[in-house]
Symmetry: C2
Subunit: 296 residues, 2 copies
């Protein structure tokens, strides 16, 4: 399987997702920024702002390649030589605090003679709704089960451990699935099978998230709900700048800064020593930001 073929399918997924999301949003339109990377490759950053449901959303395609820099070697334990990376990355920040933030990524890497796939989807509700969490995890489990009965639990645990803020001792949200460096060696699957799995993840994103948008977009909210959204968004910022490997890889590989940091929320708030009232909805959400919770 040629890398060109993989990149083309990823690009097609980007287009398809934008169409479906625009339709559900009902107002916002994705604007395209095509960019080039001086050391090799480039991308298409599609951003929607001030939609009806989405305040700021990015659906990015990129295909970058070139020599492995010293910074990349140090940060990622990469060998020297040439690398190739293509992927689709999504972050969506809705206006309404009852619509969760979502993130999706699918990626393919080559380094010398080796290759691997990575990716995942995870959901960050401002207010955790256990029914919604169950729906979300159920949908991810259904995709995983088509490929391997062990994938869902294995990749759900990986997401719990990855989307975690040690300094807050809390997960970023209700998790989802996360996987990295999948190869034939560590999965027993062919390259074609792994590619199909990753494509299925990409195709699952829009139907699942538009369903969630549709259910929650008209829920009435207060200033207090917006404030809590601002606080939860600041935790999103902390995760992405302190721990996210994609952000780190982007910055270390001299990627396009505005594309890498499209994941930042439009607005975030830090209140000193904020602690929600006991048994409030906010407190209930905090208490559910834990690893190893079986949502289904």
């Amino acid at each position: 399987m040629e890398k060109k073929f993989i990149a083309d399918r990823f690009k097609a997924i980007q287009t398809s997702i934008c169409v479906q999301i625009e339709k559900e949003d009902g107002q916002g339109v994705f604007q395209s920024d095509i960019w080039e990377r001086s050391e090799g490759g480039g991308g298409d950053t599609k951003i929607l702002t001030n939609g009806n449901v989405l305040e700021k959303a990015g659906v990015l395609f990129s295909e970058v390649f070139g020599p492995v820099s010293d910074k990349m070697k140090a940060a990622f334990d990469f060998n020297s030589g040439e690398f190739y990376a293509t992927g689709v990355s999504i972050v969506m920040h809705p206006k309404n605090p009852f619509v969760p933030i979502i993130h999706m990524n699918i990626r393919y890497f080559e380094m010398g003679n080796s290759w691997w796939f990575g990716g995942g989807i995870d959901l960050t509700p401002i207010y955790i709704d256990e029914k919604e969490a169950q729906y979300f995890h159920q949908k991810l489990k259904e995709v995983c089960d088509k490929y391997d009965q062990q994938y869902y639990l294995r990749f759900k645990e990986w997401a719990d451990n990855y989307f975690f803020l040690p300094h807050r001792n809390e997960t970023r949200g209700i998790g989802g699935i996360f996987f990295d460096r999948l190869t034939t060696n560590n999965t027993g699957k062919t390259k074609e099978e792994l590619f199909d799995f990753v494509i299925s993840i990409g195709e699952t994103f829009a139907p699942v998230y538009t369903q969630i948008m549709n259910t929650k977009k008209n829920v009435v909210y207060s200033d207090k709900n917006k404030e809590w959204q601002g606080i939860r968004r600041s935790r999103y910022v902390e995760f992405n700048l302190l721990y996210d490997k994609g952000t780190k890889f982007g910055l270390e590989s001299d990627g396009r800064v505005e594309s890498i940091l499209m994941s930042m929320p439009p607005l975030a708030e830090w209140h000193y020593n904020y602690s929600p009232e006991k048994n409030s909805f906010e407190d209930n959400t905090l208490n559910l930001l834990i690893k190893n919770k079986a949502w289904i």
Copy 2:
């Protein structure tokens, strides 16, 4: 010189700064949070919110000690054994976009038989005012010159290099002075002389910043000015979470999270691909966020 003596003087500087800042603010009052660190030591985090001039300001004293953890070893190239650290850290976020953000830190470290001092002050205007920048640097130069004619230029260059966002290719603000690991070996000064220098830096903070607050606090501002403040504050967040060694040390040494992250602004905005109009005040500020500018 005993470490207890150093810590006591640092604590006294914290108190004195809070009194002077409260007086200039005219409304806000610092609230004290005394905390303990389970592995050894603790601190006093003083926070003022919703003042007349200051939206959120922190003046922190801490004195922490204990065994060097594996995380600290890896992150700071520290030897194993016991460490001791005491310091005062300040970040102030004013409401009015014409009053600059300020940061100050003085610190003393011991590791086994070795000791060192570090510290600095730097200013982050939302709108750079060259006269104000000149005043600020002039005051820092005056303190430095009392101790060593080479300090100002040496530590100003250090600040330019330290308070820099490589991914944006811009400095955090107009800099100031920064120094770390000052010992008798690399300065030719006695411990007492270095201590006096660091104390002078601490004592310079309040008179200089209250003067700046006083000059700018009544300047009329617009929504556009507030938006630009939100954007500049997001760059402050990026610097602190991506690059600041104090933040990193705090998190890696299992420090008190709310004290470490008091530096975060109350509100920050990320606009995708924001670029100010050519020759606007915002554009002029961006063009001055460069290293090696001689402000005086």
